[in-house]
Symmetry: C2
């Protein structure tokens, strides 16, 4: 048990475990084993056990983990509960969708406002959150000690916006624009790059198609 740093792979699996634990009928499954979690999620059981060992106070042989405690341990580790505040830059379709998404608070993210340069959209509200002029970004970030920025502008504007965010004190950038962003090494960029996903999906389809054709001919 401990709050030591955890590999990126482990960090990405933790929400998956949490998600599964929360899907269990309440109070009906007091204990849960790594073996069962692994099986349900299509993973290796030792891997699950190692991941859980990093963040929980441990399970008991034959019995497994206490479901409620494990759930709480993962949530605490992921920082759900004390949400990070974030701003969105770019209030187009995607920005609006993210502004309206009510579920972020459950994942420890509190989107406080959006920024844009388009006068026609400044002042509008989406999901109860305002679109402000980009000029107000530095002051608001500093005043509210905001450390996360979400980039939903077109690719051509993304690096400029990223620079402005860093200038405003942001330490973590969630980038939805399909570009590589250059940042200082203490700033983390997480790319939600749809082109990556599409490449993987598309290649799978092409390969499947090839197989079917070879099998047929």
């Amino acid at each position: 048990m401990g709050m030591q740093s955890v590999s990126k792979q482990t960090l990405e699996r933790l929400p998956l475990y949490l998600n599964y634990l929360k899907s269990l009928p309440k109070d009906e499954v007091p204990n849960i084993s790594a073996t069962v979690i692994a099986e349900k999620l299509g993973l290796n059981d030792v891997q699950v056990r190692k991941d859980l060992a990093m963040i929980s106070s441990g399970g008991r042989p034959k019995i497994g983990y206490i479901t409620a405690d494990l759930t709480a341990d993962i949530e605490r580790f992921l920082g759900y509960g004390n949400a990070d505040r974030a701003v969105i830059i770019g209030a187009g379709h995607l920005g609006q969708a993210l502004l309206c998404y009510q579920g972020f608070l459950d994942y420890g993210l509190d989107v406080v406002a959006a920024f844009d340069t388009d006068k026609r959209i400044i002042g509008a509200e989406f999901g109860g959150k305002q679109v402000l002029p980009i000029e107000k970004l530095p002051e608001l970030c500093r005043r509210m000690k905001i450390r996360m920025g979400i980039i939903t502008v077109p690719a051509s504007a993304a690096q400029l916006v990223c620079d402005q965010l860093i200038e405003s004190g942001i330490m973590a950038v969630w980038n939805f624009a399909p570009v590589y962003l250059k940042v200082p090494k203490d700033v983390l960029v997480q790319n939600e790059n749809m082109a990556y996903s599409l490449a993987v999906l598309s290649k799978h389809l092409t390969q499947r198609m090839g197989e079917v054709q070879s099998a047929g001919g």
Copy 2:
């Protein structure tokens, strides 16, 4: 050179290379080296060279690759050009945002329509694409030979929708719902799970904060 199967990591880096190549001023950079690409994208040059060796006809010592040829090779490999057709299930905010996004065609994806169960939204158009009743899904998928489905429904409905997609002949699922989807092993699920990204970003912020505090105290 060859169309052999490529690791997932390589597949995810290819759009990054392509993106960089396209950002170069047209006709002004006839040749490009793996060394330069690696430097600009913060990667190892041997890694870039190995990735490119999988899909290109090769570069020349001292000169590098022919920019235009390399660009074309990556696009061909990723299947840009002959787009995969896809349907979106769930025409809420995120579904609408994806329907409206004009850039998918550039990435080899042609979204043909959306489906929903909500009568108030059925018949509406977003980005020139219609929202149809979910009942019409199987027939349309079969008739148009659609093999990719995009899930943008709430978590609670995602597995049901996924089953319907597979029933309709879909082979690749792009899942935006924060749930693990159970599928036959010849179907590929690519999760665009924002909880993963948020976990990585949030942990970075927590660790940075810890460092700053230790440095200060």
